[in-house]
Amino acid sequence: MMQQQCRRDGGRAEARPPTLPSAPGSFVSPHPTVGRQLLKLVPTVQRGPGLWALFLNPLPCCRPLCYEQSERRLHKSLQMKMEEMSLSGLDNSKLEAIAQEIYADLVEDSCLGFCFEVHRAVKCGYFFLDDTDPDSMKDFEIVDQPGLDIFGQVFNQWKSKECVCPNCSRSIAASRFAPHLEKCLGMGRNSSRIANRRIANSNNMNKSESDQEDNDDINDNDWSYGSEKKAKKRKSDKNPNSPRRSKSLKHKNGELSNSDPFKYNNSTGISYETLGPEELRSLLTTQCGVISEHTKKMCTRSLRCPQHTDEQRRAVRIYFLGPSAVLPEVESSLDNDSFDMTDSQALISRLQWDGSSDLSPSDSGSSKTSENQGWGLGTNSSESRKTKKKKSHLSLVGTASGLGSNKKKKPKPPAPPTPSIYDDIN
């Protein structure tokens, strides 16, 4: 490289003599740095002499022969210097010319590149793809009128429109049409929930006296029409249409054997304290009836409810209906038949005895004691008859419990404690 060669010349970067024209007198230096460099040349002889300097300060050796040699040397050095300063030493116009050339080259490159692209597009056939025919251009032209969007549609054209419902033949506003249809046709999530709730509420109203299937803990103290009010309050507490409501109910014992599959029951069971003897009896013939330790309520599931054992059910029936009470279903091949006859008689006798069967709704403990007393009075008459069978029944219970424990698992912890209570009673 020229520049590298020049570097070897002692790195005389500072003093760069200008490109002198052939006639030393006609020196022109438009470049400012060049002028400065020239001035630097003047005092120092040893640094880059140049022709100019030569005339100002003669060489030390002034012999003619030396002069020729020196001139040759000068030429060489000058050439080297010229090469060295090729870029910066140029006048501005030259630089500019070069710059222009470079720019032109770049633009030409771009144009050529573009030509190649176009040619390829034409050859591959996708060059004219983005052209549309003039008809379509007119059809889909952008609309720029007030009151219209760019497609030419009116803004709220459908707001005030009314649709006729095919089901009930009413005219409904367009924005309310979909929810109306949902309710009207009875399809969709919300409509089934609403319907179920309505059924549940109507059931509550109808059956508040008898099988209280959907009562919750709110019905503890009022076993009459107050349940209706509280049912409504309960409804407003939670969002009636939220899916969470239905999910939370799945795990409860609210299932009835005879219930509609879409029905969501809202209670764990029935509070036995609010039931009269008649209701209790009918309840116990159709439902599990086992009293849950947490809530002190009877289980409303079927007689074969997996959460409670037969032994528990039996215990409950004994508790409520007397020692001779028996499960409506016959599980084991024990001599239950013999009990049935006597049981029914005992039941009837007991049920006829009103007395303090009007159970007080206070603590279960006190109620139990009162119940015991109540039932005890009732049983006194038949106890003598039943002592034998009571004992055998107890043994039966014992075996049954043993069997029960073998056969069935006790899924809930309250299961074991409940027999203990009734054992005390018995």
């Binding site: 910066s88 140029l90 710059a99 032109a104 771009s110 030509c115 176009v118």
Partner: protein, 101 residues
């Protein structure tokens, strides 16, 4: 002397070009120019012009040689002044930097 100077010029230019390529500045400038031309819409204008040319030609097979003499002068002319100035400025800067080396 003049001839040598001309050679010098040629050599100089060659040297400059070489420097441009070596430092990667040429590629940079090229990409810059391309981006700017797309931004300013030069490419789309030229494309429209091309379409007209091709439609006029109505040739079965348009070759690159056909296109180049039509497109290049138009392309050169269509470059906006701002782009040109900016690019020239960059080149001058480069020259000023690397001329001192």
């Amino acid at each position: 002397m003049v001839v040598s100077k001309m050679n010098k010029d040629a050599q100089m230019r060659a040297a400059i070009n070489q420097k441009l390529i070596e430092t990667g500045e040429r590629e940079l400038l090229k990409e810059l120019l391309r981006a700017k031309l797309i931004e300013c819409g030069w490419k789309d204008q030229l494309k429209a012009h091309c379409k007209e040319v091709i439609k006029e030609k109505v040739l079965e097979h348009v070759t690159v040689d056909d296109l180049v003499p039509e497109i290049t002068p138009k392309g050169r002319a269509l470059v906006p002044e701002s782009v040109k100035k900016e690019l020239l400025q960059r080149i001058r800067t480069f020259l000023a930097q690397h001329a001192s080396l």
